[in-house]
């Protein structure tokens, strides 16, 4: 039932992907270029001092939560717009979906330096730009997956419902609000919840960062942790972790649970299901007089008014369209527009790629080789981290998943663990490493795993729970035991879940590499040789050529591994090991 949904389109790599890759590169370069130009006027020297007093934690937690929700709001708006556009316009779809596919596999944290400098440049003299950059980082961690989910819902809308709404004379707004959004709600809510959980990691990473020799601190849980780690204050660190867990649990109970319960009514099944999700907050709100009164007198009329306005707009738009008819369109106003847009895009991509290449060529062949070598090292760590994750999470997950009592108890725990930003524990682990003098080249691997293994565990539990009872009974009758049972039944049955989770986990590990290959505890710097540490280092130093090359190489690694390894496995899982 519960699953981290990762959408893996099974298209072939085509010309369009090449263009999209170039486009992303051009975009990256131009942002970087603009950002570096705009950094100059910024002269905020008053450094925000982040306290390590536990009494300040509620305020900091509030700031962090605010950032998370702003980012979530932006992601949701982006999702509805981008998803609708991609699903409804064939020309847009051809470009937007490959673009989304690549954006999805980019290691977001690598871009942090770039986006921070850009946003800081946009709002010189105060921290608002940094706030925006942090929100943007969280946004980039959430939006792609949600957009894919919404797009997928739209293209799988049942034909009969679409025809019904057309015959009923719905305009685009009525279709959107009465059909498309309700139909997408269930998967959108699940994806939102999971993406929101994943967002904490980006929050913690973006609140305290060193860009271009400047320490940037935003008041929040992440910066509190960083401050505690720099001061070596164990108590404050523990308080921060406690506050983080409490915040995650509270938001889950107060916000997501009620929404999940409410969203159950959008289930498409035609018969009633047995197990229903529950939420005490939802029940409470349902029973509460005040909530009911507020809803009736404030929320419902407000929504109705908004809907009425949109409805009027849609109606007016359709009248205009029918008045001016379709004739002028045939002479290709859209075609001319399309051509122009295409030209602009090509010109932009061409010019910016060229300029970007000029920066890249300033790097010597040796430094390129070095970056690729570092990339290979990090790649190795990512694979080992994923492999180790599989090694422990599969047996444990299968065990939990085949015990209904345990799985009901464990699933929410695993969910919290997956949401918890692992980078907040890094200082604690660093202490251990320092005490026992662990080689950090290897020590960085468990740090990566801290954040990503939960995805595997979670999905394996879901996969094991989904094994049909008759299948396991059949295995018992045919006396499959021990290894045979694993090989013939359990592994094939959980394989699709496993592959999906591995894609998510390795993507997460690439992201984590940027913060986990370089950890600071007081004056100690633990650094592993790898591309993640390299990117962190050049970001601190403000070496633009290095940043650009580092991110580029990492993106290429991720995209290639996804295309040629994970996607193959995914296709296999889809065709051969599908249980339905």
């Amino acid at each position: 039932m519960v699953m981290f949904v990762s959408h893996v389109p099974t298209r072939r790599f085509g010309f369009i992907d090449l263009f999209v890759l170039l486009f992303v590169f051009a975009l990256l370069f131009s942002i970087l270029h603009l950002g570096s130009g705009m950094v100059a006027p910024l002269t905020t020297d008053e450094k925000i001092v982040v306290s390590t007093d536990p009494a300040d934690l509620p305020y900091y937690a509030g700031r962090s939560v605010l950032r998370m929700f702003l980012a979530y709001g932006a992601s949701l708006a982006f999702t509805l717009l981008y998803g609708s556009l991609a699903a409804k316009n064939k020309t847009a779809e051809k470009l937007l979906i490959p673009l989304l596919d690549i954006l999805q596999s980019l290691p977001v944290l690598g871009f942090l330096s770039v986006t921070i400098s850009m946003f800081m440049g946009m709002t010189p003299g105060n921290l608002f730009g940094v706030e925006l950059a942090s929100i943007f980082a969280i946004f980039t961690g959430q939006a792609w997956n949600m957009t894919f989910s919404y797009y997928h819902s739209l293209i799988t809308l049942p034909q009969d419902l679409q025809e019904a709404s057309t015959v009923l004379g719905f305009n685009w707004w009525q279709k959107f609000i009465r059909l498309e959004v309700p139909f997408a709600t269930i998967s959108l809510v699940w994806n939102s919840m999971m993406s929101f959980g994943g967002g904490w990691f980006f929050l913690a990473a973006s609140e305290a960062i060193t860009v271009l020799n400047r320490d940037i601190r935003l008041p929040g849980l992440g910066s509190f942790t960083a401050a505690a780690a720099e001061a070596g204050d164990m108590t404050a660190l523990c308080w921060a972790i406690f506050a983080m867990v409490a915040t995650i649990v509270l938001i889950d109970q107060l916000f997501w649970r009620p929404i999940v319960v409410w969203s159950q009514k959008f289930k498409m099944e035609r018969t009633e299901s047995q197990i229903a999700a529950t939420s005490f907050v939802y029940d409470f709100l349902q029973r509460s007089m005040l909530a009911g009164w507020l809803g009736k007198t404030l929320i419902v009329p407000l929504l109705a008014a908004a809907s009425c306005i949109m409805n009027g707009l849609a109606h007016w738009g359709e009248r205009m369209q029918s008045r001016f008819g379709r004739q002028p369109r045939r002479f290709g106003a859209p075609n001319v527009l399309k051509g122009l847009l295409g030209l602009v895009a090509v010109a932009f991509v061409g010019q910016q790629s060229y300029a970007g290449l000029a920066v890249l060529t300033s790097l010597s062949a040796e430094s390129w080789l070095e970056i690729v070598r570092l990339g290979a090292l990090t790649f190795g760590r990512v694979m080992v981290a994923t492999g180790l994750g599989i090694l422990w999470a599969v047996p444990v997950g299968v065990w939990i998943g085949s015990n209904p009592r345990w799985s009901r108890f464990c699933q929410p725990l695993v969910q919290v663990a997956a949401s918890f930003p692992a980078n907040m524990i890094y200082p604690l682990v660093a202490i251990l490493y320092l005490r026992f003098a662990v080689n950090f080249e290897i020590g960085a691997i468990p740090l990566m795993m801290l954040g990503t293994q939960w995805y595997i565990l979670f999905n394996v539990i879901a996969g094991a729970m989904a094994i049909p009872n008759d299948l396991s009974e059949a295995a018992t009758i045919f006396k499959l035991t021990g290894w045979q049972r694993w090989r013939k039944m359990i592994l094939p049955a959980i394989f699709p879940h496993l592959v999906t989770s591995c894609i998510t986990a390795s993507g997460g590990a690439w992201n984590a590499s940027i913060v986990s290959e370089l950890v600071i505890w007081r004056e100690n710097r633990l650094e592993a040789t790898g591309l993640g540490a390299f990117i962190s280092r050049v970001t601190e130093a403000g070496d633009w050529a290095g940043i650009l090359a580092g991110i580029l190489v990492m993106c290429l690694f991720v995209v290639f591994v996804n295309r040629f390894f994970w996607r193959r496995l995914y296709e296999l899982a889809e065709t051969q090991y599908h249980l339905n």
Binding site: L168, G169, R270
Partner: protein
């Protein structure tokens, strides 16, 4: 004649399959639908009868020709229609009342007016007391009543129904048929005309005043028959049975003729195969053998409880493999067919091999290709490409699926799903 509501003039419809491939579906349709008619559209599956209904609705635009409602051409949705769907197409997240109110969503009425109207309609279609229920709490018949209520709420001149009873069980369907007929005949609803697509011949004769048979490829209206039996009609009435029988023989003759007519002019002998599994064909022949005589097709369908959707392809397959023959609406086994039905499993494979080689030349070519290869293996894609010129992409998939199914059943070759290869054992 009463006022003409919808008129189709010289209408053609073709699907654009891409790569400059065009598949004509409907050709030269001229139809006048007048007020006060109950029209049933009959045809085999894929004959274009649903497309025709969607042209009436304005859901599908015509490729050429003219469509008018009350004399005014319409582009996009026909303003005078509402539609009932085979799958009900209810919004599962809305209650019965809210679903029916959706029928008025596009109308400029206040919320209270919409609600009042919806409640009246709910009463009419017999859903009183279920206003606040969700569709999933209702049985199929009740759900279809909601679909009907939603369509009637907007008080359309023409009610379109797309196989409205085929997702319901026999008794529920019968009940709903009677209720709809009663609503319409006793003018309890302002709807003037009903157009219904169906594949149930008996259902059409029971309900409609006018039956259109759509067939051919591309399809056109082959038969336009008025049914003047008085309501309520008795299904055991000889006059009723005669009409049903006539329609059956009309439809099968055309079906089979369609299949055979293609033989000479299709290049390289590629005859589209009816999409029937070898298992279904075998079962059908066994049942036919049990009857042991020449049989009326209409009675046969009734006896096997099959609707024409499943029934015609099986008949066609049996005829194409020359295991059965059809004469004037009657079917009987050929000597080969009789031998096949009595044979053991192993003998059947040999018999089927012979018939297949006779009837499907492509199979012989496939075997020859496999034999010529040293490893006796070949990709399905290869055969696909060689056949691509003779069949459309859609037909090709179906054709190969059926061919592979029959070939495997007859043990002519084996098939590996993973590598998509055919091979000889």
């Amino acid at each position: 004649m009463q006022q003409v509501l919808i008129e189709l003039h010289a209408v053609n419809k073709q699907w654009n399959l891409g790569e400059n491939k065009i598949k004509p579906v409907l050709t030269e349709i001229d139809l006048k639908i007048a007020a006060g008619q109950f029209v049933a559209i009959l045809g085999a599956s894929g004959s274009g009868k649903s497309t025709l209904l969607r042209i009436f609705a304005g859901l599908t635009a015509v490729s050429s020709g003219k469509v008018t409602y009350l004399g005014n051409p319409y582009q996009g949705i026909n303003p005078g229609v509402a539609m009932v769907f085979q799958s009900f197409a209810l919004f599962p997240w809305l209650t019965v009342l809210e679903n029916v109110m959706m029928g008025l969503e596009a109308k400029p009425l206040s919320k209270t007016e919409k609600k009042e109207k919806a409640i009246r309609v709910i009463d009419v279609v017999g859903l009183d007391g279920f206003e606040s229920a969700y569709p999933k709490e209702l049985s199929g018949g009740m759900q279809q009543r909601v679909g009907l209520g939603r369509a009637l709420a907007s008080e359309p001149d023409v009610l379109l129904m797309d196989e409205p009873f085929s997702a319901l069980d026999v008794l529920t369907a019968e009940n709903l048929r009677r209720d709809i007929l009663e609503l319409w005949r006793e003018k309890k609803i302002p709807t003037q005309t009903i157009i219904m697509v169906t594949h149930g011949i008996e259902e059409a004769v029971y309900m409609a005043d006018r039956i259109l048979v759509v067939s051919g490829s591309p399809a056109t209206v082959m038969t336009d028959m008025a049914i003047s039996l008085p309501h309520w009609r008795d299904k055991n009435d000889p006059a009723f049975i005669e009409i049903v029988d006539k329609l059956y023989s009309l439809m099968t003759k055309r079906e089979v003729a369609d299949g055979q007519r293609k033989l000479p002019h299709e290049d390289r002998g590629v005859i589209p195969l009816p999409n029937v599994s070898a298992g279904a064909l075998t079962g059908f022949l066994e049942l036919l053998e049990d009857l042991n005589e020449k049989t009326d097709l209409y009675k046969l369908a009734d006896r096997f409880m099959m609707d024409s959707e499943d029934f015609f392809p099986v008949i066609e397959a049996a005829a194409q493999l020359q295991l059965a023959k059809i004469v004037d609406g009657d079917i009987e086994l050929t000597p080969e067919g009789a031998r096949f039905a009595q044979a053991t499993v192993l003998e059947r494979k040999v018999l089927l091999q012979e018939q297949l080689f006779l009837a499907v030349p492509t199979l012989g070519q496939i075997i020859a290709v496999l034999n010529s290869k040293s490893n006796k293996r070949m990709n399905v894609e290869f055969f696909k490409e060689t056949l691509a010129r003779s069949l459309s992409a859609e037909q090709l998939e179906e054709y190969l699926d059926t061919l592979i199914d029959w070939g495997r059943y007859a043990e002519l070759f084996a098939y590996d799903e993973n590598s998509r290869q055919l091979f000889l054992e």
